[in-house]
C-alpha cells in the first residue's frame, strides 16, 4: 500500500514538474464565413501536449509590432477546437487537433470600453478599387497596416510564449464552409444537364400520369362551354421563389390552351413583379397560339401586397365573376382555405398545386385535384413535354433515387457510429458532417 502511494506521489510530482510545451503551427488567417464583411481574423494553433485542466492560452493583440499589447482573450486548452465550429473551418478530420480564436476587434488601451474593430483591405471590388485601377494616382490603393498577435500558454504563474504573427482581414467571395453545398448543387445540376441532352435525343421519355394535370383540360373545356373565365392564382411569394417560377411556367402552358379554346383567363396578382412576368408570359402564349388579338393586359392585374385584403378581394371576384375553374398554383399561407372554400362555394372546378406542406391538407379538403409538393414542379414538364423540361424532370428523378440510396446507405453506416473500426467511424463522422448546414 505504502509503495503504491509513493508511486502515485512520484508520478504526480513528475507530471507537475513537466514544463509547459508551447503549441506549434501558430498562424493568423483571414476569416471566411457566411456573410463575411471582411471584419474578422482567425488565429489558429495546434494542440499542445500540455493541454489539460488548468492550462489556458492567452491571446494578445496590437496595432503595431512593437506594441502596446492588450489581452484579447483567454482560451481554455480543453475547448476551442476547430472541430467545434465547422461553420468557420469546414469538415476536416484533423480539426480536433487545432485550436482557434476568432478576432473581430483589438482592445483599446486608452478607452477599454471602445474596442477597435478590424478593418478590411478593400480587396473586394468597390467603386473606389475599380476607380483605383483606372486612375491609380488619384485613387491610390488603400492598404491597411496588418494587425499583430501573440500567443502565450499559461499554467498558474508559469507562462511560455507560443508564437506570434500578423494578418489583415479581407472580404471573401467564396465561403469554403459551404463547399459541400456547392458540390451537391453541381452534382444535381450536372445530372439534370446530362438528362436534358438525353431528352433532346429521345423526346418520348416516359412521365407517369398526374391526375390533377389531366383535369386542366377538363377545367378549360368547362370554362369555354360556360363562357366563364378561368381564375389563376400564383401564390404569395415573389419571383425569387421556385414555386412561383413553377407556377408562372404552368400559367404559360395553360394560357396557350385557353387562347386556343378562345376562353378567358383572370390572374389577380399579389406581387407587382409577378404580375409583370405573368403579363409577358400570357402575351407570349397568346401569340404562340396565333391569337395575339385576344390577349388583354387588364386580365392580369395587381391587387395588393397584403395577405388578407388580397384574400378578401379574390373572394369577392370569385363571388361576382363566378369563374368556371379556379387554379391555385404556388406557395400559400393561411389564405389557402379561405380562397379554396369560397371557390368551392361557387361551384367552380378547383385544381391546386403547392409545395407549402402546411397548406396542402386544406387544398386536399376543398379542391377537386391537388398537386402535392414536387408535382407542382413536374407540372410544367408534364403539360409541355418539351425536352428541356422533361430532361430536367428526369434529372430530378435521378437525384431523388440517389437521395434514397444515400439515406439507406447512410442509415446503415450511421449505425456504426461508435464502432471499433476506425474507417467505419471515419465514414460515419464524414457523413454526419456532410449533412450539417449553417
Amino acid at each position: 500500500m505504502r509503495t503504491a502511494i509513493l508511486c502515485l506521489m512520484l508520478a504526480a510530482c513528475a507530471l507537475a514538474e513537466q514544463p509547459l510545451v508551447p503549441p506549434t503551427g501558430f498562424e493568423v488567417r483571414d476569416r471566411v464565413s457566411s456573410d463575411d464583411k471582411g471584419d474578422g481574423l482567425l488565429v489558429v494553433w495546434k494542440n499542445s501536449p500540455s493541454d489539460g485542466a488548468g492550462v489556458e492560452y492567452v491571446l494578445e493583440g496590437a496595432l503595431k509590432k512593437e506594441g502596446p499589447w492588450a489581452e484579447i482573450g483567454r482560451y481554455d486548452s480543453q475547448k476551442w477546437h476547430q472541430v467545434d465550429n465547422p461553420a468557420l473551418f469546414g469538415f476536416s478530420m484533423d480539426a480536433k487537433d487545432w485550436h482557434y480564436a476568432e478576432v473581430v476587434s483589438i482592445p483599446n488601451i486608452e478607452k477599454p470600453d471602445q474596442p477597435i474593430p478590424l478593418k478590411n483591405d478593400l480587396t473586394f471590388p468597390t467603386i473606389y478599387s475599380l476607380l483605383g485601377k483606372l486612375f491609380p494616382k488619384k485613387y491610390p490603393p488603400v492598404t491597411l497596416e496588418p494587425y499583430h498577435f501573440r500567443l502565450k500558454i499559461v499554467r498558474g504563474t508559469e507562462t511560455v510564449d507560443a508564437g506570434s504573427g500578423n494578418g489583415r482581414p479581407e472580404k471573401n467571395v467564396w465561403n469554403t464552409s459551404r463547399n459541400h453545398v456547392a458540390v451537391t448543387a453541381l452534382v444535381i445540376c450536372g445530372t439534370i444537364l446530362v438528362m436534358i441532352r438525353v431528352a433532346r435525343r429521345n423526346p418520348n421519355l416516359f412521365v407517369r400520369r398526374i391526375p390533377g394535370l389531366d383535369a386542366v383540360d377538363e377545367a378549360i373545356g368547362r370554362a369555354t362551354e360556360m363562357g366563364k373565365p378561368v381564375l389563376y392564382l400564383n401564390g404569395l411569394y415573389g419571383m425569387d421563389s421556385i414555386s412561383t417560377v413553377a407556377s408562372t411556367s404552368i400559367l404559360g402552358r395553360l394560357a396557350r390552351r385557353i387562347a386556343a379554346y378562345d376562353s378567358q383567363i383572370m390572374v389577380p396578382c399579389y406581387d407587382p413583379v409577378v404580375m409583370s412576368v405573368c403579363q409577358e408570359i400570357v402575351r407570349e402564349a397568346y401569340i404562340d397560339a396565333g391569337r395575339p388579338d385576344a390577349y388583354k393586359d387588364e386580365s392580369i392585374f395587381f391587387l395588393t401586397n397584403d395577405q388578407f385584403s388580397y384574400v378578401a378581394s379574390v373572394d369577392g371576384i370569385m363571388m361576382r365573376e363566378r369563374p368556371a375553374a379556379n387554379l391555385y398554383m404556388g406557395y400559400y399561407f393561411a389564405e389557402s382555405l379561405l380562397l379554396a372554400e369560397t371557390g368551392a362555394a361557387t361551384g367552380a372546378i378547383q385544381i391546386a398545386g403547392t409545395d407549402s406542406v402546411t397548406q396542402v391538407p386544406f387544398f386536399i379538403a376543398t379542391c377537386d385535384y391537388t398537386l402535392i409538393g414536387e408535382e407542382l414542379y413536374a407540372a410544367s414538364a408534364y403539360l409541355s413535354k418539351e425536352p428541356l423540361q422533361l430532361g430536367s424532370l428526369k434529372g430530378q428523378d435521378l437525384g431523388k433515387a440517389a437521395i434514397m440510396v444515400v439515406i439507406l446507405f447512410g442509415a446503415i453506416l450511421a449505425c456504426f457510429k461508435g464502432a471499433e473500426s476506425e474507417s467505419l467511424q471515419y465514414m460515419a463522422d464524414y457523413l454526419s458532417n456532410w449533412f450539417t448546414t449553417f
Partner: protein, 277 residues
C-alpha cells in the same frame, strides 16, 4: 375606466369592419364589398408608404443621394436650390451626410426605372431585362438555400438518429425504421419516371398513406389555431358590446342585419339583378 374619443373611434371602426366582413358568410353583399374595397385601398396605400419610408429612403436615398446633396450644399448653393438643399438635408446625422455615396445602388435604381418603360408600348420590351435579372437572381439565391435547407437538412434529420442506434431503446429504433420507410416510400411516390404498377404501386400507396397521416395532423393543428383566432375576434366583439364602448357590437349588428334585410327586399323587387348570379 373611461374610454378616450380616439379609442372609441378605433373600437367602432374595428367592430364595424369585422361585422361587415363577416356578412360575407351570408352571401356577397354591398356591406362586404364596402369592407373589401376599403381594406384593399388601405392596404395598398399602406404598402406604398412602407415602400417609400422603409425601403427607398433608407436603402437608396440616404446612402446615395443624401451625401451628394450634402456635398452640393457645401459648395454653396443659393436661391431656391439652396433652400431645397437646406430642407432636404435637415434632420440627418453628420455620419449620414458625410458618408461616401454608394453608387452601386444606382444599378438597382436603373433596373427599377426600366420597369416603368412597360407604360410605353414601344419600349416595354426593355423592362424584360429587369425581370430577367430578378428571375435569374431569385433562382440563384433560392437553389443553394433549398439544397441546404430542404435537402441536406432533411437528409440529416432522417439519417442522424441512426448515429445513436447502438444506445437507443427498442421503441426509438422502431421509430427510426418507421421514419426511414416513410421517407423512402414517399420519395418513390414522387418519382415521375416510374409507372405506378406492381410493387411500385404498393410502395407509393404506402408513401401516400404516410403523407396523408402527416397532412391530417397538420390540418388538425392548423384548424385549432384558426379556432383560437376566431375565439379572439368574438371575444373582442363581446368586450365591445358594453356601455363603455357605447354598445358598438349591438349597434353594428343591427345595422348589418337590417341592411342585409333591406338589400334582400330591394333585390327581390328588381329580379334582373338576381340573374347575374
Amino acid at each position: 375606466m373611461q374610454i378616450t374619443p380616439a379609442e372609441l373611434i378605433g373600437v367602432w371602426v374595428g367592430v364595424g369592419l369585422t361585422l361587415l366582413m363577416y356578412s360575407f358568410l351570408y352571401k356577397d353583399n354591398p356591406f362586404f364589398r364596402f369592407g373589401e374595397h376599403l381594406y384593399l385601398g388601405v392596404s395598398v396605400g399602406y404598402l406604398v408608404t412602407i415602400s417609400i419610408f422603409r425601403s427607398l429612403k433608407p436603402s437608396l436615398w440616404i446612402p446615395t443621394f443624401l451625401p451628394l446633396l450634402a456635398k452640393w450644399k457645401a459648395f454653396g448653393a443659393t436661391g431656391w436650390i439652396g433652400r431645397y438643399l437646406d430642407w432636404a438635408t435637415t434632420g440627418y446625422t453628420p455620419d449620414q451626410l458625410g458618408a461616401p455615396p454608394n453608387y452601386w445602388l444606382l444599378v438597382g435604381l436603373a433596373l427599377g426605372i426600366l420597369v416603368y418603360l412597360r407604360l410605353s408600348p414601344k419600349l416595354s420590351w426593355v423592362s424584360r431585362y429587369t425581370f430577367a435579372f430578378m428571375v435569374g437572381w431569385g433562382s440563384g439565391v433560392a437553389i443553394p438555400a433549398i439544397i441546404e435547407a430542404s435537402l441536406l437538412k432533411q437528409l440529416g434529420a432522417t439519417v442522424e438518429p441512426f448515429l445513436g442506434w447502438g444506445k437507443a431503446p427498442t421503441l426509438a429504433r422502431v421509430n427510426m425504421i418507421v421514419i426511414l420507410i416513410g421517407v423512402s416510400c414517399t420519395l418513390i411516390y414522387f418519382l415521375f419516371s416510374l409507372e405506378h404498377k406492381g410493387p411500385v404501386k404498393v410502395i407509393s400507396k404506402i408513401g401516400i398513406c404516410f403523407l396523408m397521416i402527416s397532412f391530417g395532423a397538420s390540418f388538425g393543428y392548423t384548424v385549432m389555431g384558426r379556432m383560437a383566432l376566431l375565439v379572439g375576434r368574438l371575444q373582442d366583439l363581446i368586450d365591445n358590446s358594453g356601455s363603455r364602448s357605447w354598445f358598438a357590437t349591438y349597434v353594428w349588428l343591427a345595422i348589418a342585419v337590417g341592411g342585409l334585410i333591406a338589400w334582400e327586399m330591394r333585390r327581390k323587387k328588381t329580379p334582373t339583378e338576381g340573374v347575374q348570379h
